[in-house]
């Protein structure tokens, strides 16, 4: 009897959880269509909160405290590991974020799936200061949903004492000469991306043959033992400690690693690479829309951008901040900024000219990417 009771109870619970999952989704859909950026309820009761999700190590934490002091809004700041992990949390309905900060291609996917709400730019006066180069980009062509947060390039980080001569081409990522010392980035888009650049194809190709060719290139290198492992954040430990020679990673993170290991160098390969924009957006089912706008405006200010740039080493899209940063650095540290490093952080136009932004891929290409990515691990 008891056993049956327990089983019934758990069945009921499971059913309840499933149903509530569905009903939450339904509420979201209807609630989203009547979309007035209100949030009035929460701002009147004195307990204003805001739920933010960003990447790890991606903000000067003092800015959060300052925002809380200025506005009295309590910020619940959480982090996600990758665009894909963020997407699955959003899809699960397990999170109640208001503001997120995904990368370009993920933003277009979220817009496509109607998960973001248009911003009220009258509440974000600092949007004016964003450099025109970062407005109306392909992921948000009319710039209705986003305010850029950072931008940068993907490239090769390598240890000059462990490889022969300077690296200039993606071929280093497939070269047996560095066998066992190459780190593959643990995200299918960037990993296949570097192979596609090397082969001279577009990273946004939907041609199955080209993608399979890129896969084969990586799979061959893997079977020859070129790769030591697939890494995301472990890359810091491995590159800083001289435990691996070559890795694909982001420019901003290279500058962080350089502080611990001066032997590291960074290059945007001659074949071209990805340049990305991470932008702040508000989810369609956000509870605290008013607060979310205040937060975005706060982070878009020149002051915040300067401090973030100094802290996380990713370039700011704020035109004033970009221009003032070398002076700001000199004032803060009492020595001039190394312009070579500055150009790695904020890539000059001639580098950007050979780079390409990721566009959202159609569903079937995404499935192909995922299938091939798993096949690589068989």
């Amino acid at each position: 009897m008891k056993r049956i009771a327990a089983l019934t109870l758990s069945c009921a619970l499971a059913a309840g959880l499933l149903l509530s999952g569905c009903s939450v989704e339904r509420v979201d859909n209807t609630g989203g269509s009547a979309e007035t950026p209100s949030g009035g309820n929460s701002s009147n009761d004195g307990n204003r909160v805001l739920n933010v999700c960003n990447w790890g190590e991606y903000i000067d934490l003092d800015l959060i405290t300052e925002f809380e002091e200025q506005t009295g809004i309590k910020v619940n700041y959480q982090t996600a590991e990758s665009n894909e992990a963020l997407y699955s949390v959003l899809k699960n309905g397990g999170a109640n974020y208001d503001v997120i900060c995904p990368s370009d291609y993920m933003i277009s996917q979220l817009i496509e799936e109607d998960m973001l709400q248009p911003l009220d730019y009258s509440k974000i006066p600092n949007f004016e200061k964003i450099d025109d180069r970062f407005k109306n980009l392909s992921y948000d062509p009319e710039n209705l949903y986003t305010v850029p947060y950072t931008w940068g390039t993907l490239g090769i980080i390598y240890n000059t004492t462990m490889v022969d001569g300077p690296i200039t081409s993606w071929s280093a990522m497939f070269d047996e000469a560095n066998a066992g010392n190459v780190l593959l980035i643990n995200n299918s888009r960037d990993a296949f991306g570097m192979a596609l650049y090397y082969l001279g194809y577009s990273v946004n190709t939907t041609d199955e043959a080209q993608i399979r060719e890129a896969y084969q290139l990586i799979a061959d290198a893997a079977s020859k033992g070129v790769y030591q492992g697939k890494v995301m954040d472990e890359v810091f430990l491995k590159m800083e400690g001289g435990n691996a020679a070559v890795a694909t990673y982001y420019a901003g993170d290279y500058l962080t690693m350089l502080e611990s290991n001066p032997d590291l160098a960074y290059v945007v390969p001659e074949e071209g690479s990805n340049w990305f924009v991470d932008a702040m957006c508000i989810l369609k089912d956000a509870q605290n829309v008013e607060e979310a706008h205040e937060w975005i405006n706060f982070l878009a200010s020149t002051e915040s951008n300067l401090r973030n740039m100094d802290y996380i080493w990713y370039a700011s899209p704020n035109a004033e901040a970009l221009e003032q940063y070398p002076a700001y650095y000199e004032e803060t540290y009492g020595e001039p900024l190394d312009m070579e490093l500055y150009e790695i952080m904020a890539a000059p136009q001639e580098v950007l000219d050979r780079c390409e932004a990721y566009l959202v891929l159609p569903e079937e290409t995404r499935t192909l990417y995922n299938d091939l990515w798993i096949e690589l691990g068989l």
């Binding site: 327990a6 109870l9 069945c11 990758s82 699960n92 893997a222 990417y369 798993i374 691990g377 068989l378």
Partner: protein, 284 residues
Amino acid sequence: MKNNRSFLAIPYVVWMALFVVAPIIMVVIYSFTTADFSFTTDNFTRMGTFAVIFTRSFKLAIIATLICLLVGYPLAYAMAREGKEFQRVAMLLIMLPMWVNFLLRTYATMSILENNGILNQLFSAIGLFDFLNNTMGTDIQYFRMIGTQGAVVLGMVYNYLPFMILPIYSVIIKLDQSLLEAARDLGANSLGVFRKVIFPLSLPGILSGVTMVFVPSVSTFAISRLLGGGIQMMLGDLIEQQFLGGAYNPHLGSAIALVMMIIVVVCMWVMNHFGEGEEQAVML
């Protein structure tokens, strides 16, 4: 349990229902449905593709379990035979690593095994590589340890060894001394006593030890990703890919998890039949 104290079990029953039974039911539901929750068995027909990953995971978990048993049993046996003081110290040493979080320990293991890690630096400092290079004419700068299957097995053994030692120890220490004396009186030598009395009586401990090492080893993903590099996936990585990776297919992920659970349950069931007739071994 025909007494009026069964209400004491209520907190646990509620707990089990909420966090064990309900999730399993959800896994079953997910694994038999598509994204829009209509019935399908497609998730299972795709399973053949992953046979390599299943084999690899089970192989490494079995190796790790065997090593744990080979190392853990003699230690547990010796501990149980020794005096109180030895037991206290040994127990402390076994438990000590478990006071540190498992992920931190794995990160630490990683920095020990790296190409330029603590172990390789030690070898280099004592001139091992120079010696090898001079005598064998090779050109080794370091031993490749990180990113190998050996590193994964090491990580599993390191993390789960206490779970093998403790149940075996607690069974052996409770053995009735008079049984051993009787065996000796009846003419059994030391080997005979061990083979005919101690070992069969410690089987329940072995079985729960094996279960507690094997099950987490099969499904681990942090160890395989950090120490094994993740180039060759294991089951845990594969399932994680379905939930948190670009793939985002919780239905396929649930199906893989379900198949894994079934295989593990079958393994445990077969194992427990070895111990039949002895005391009931604790399953799962």
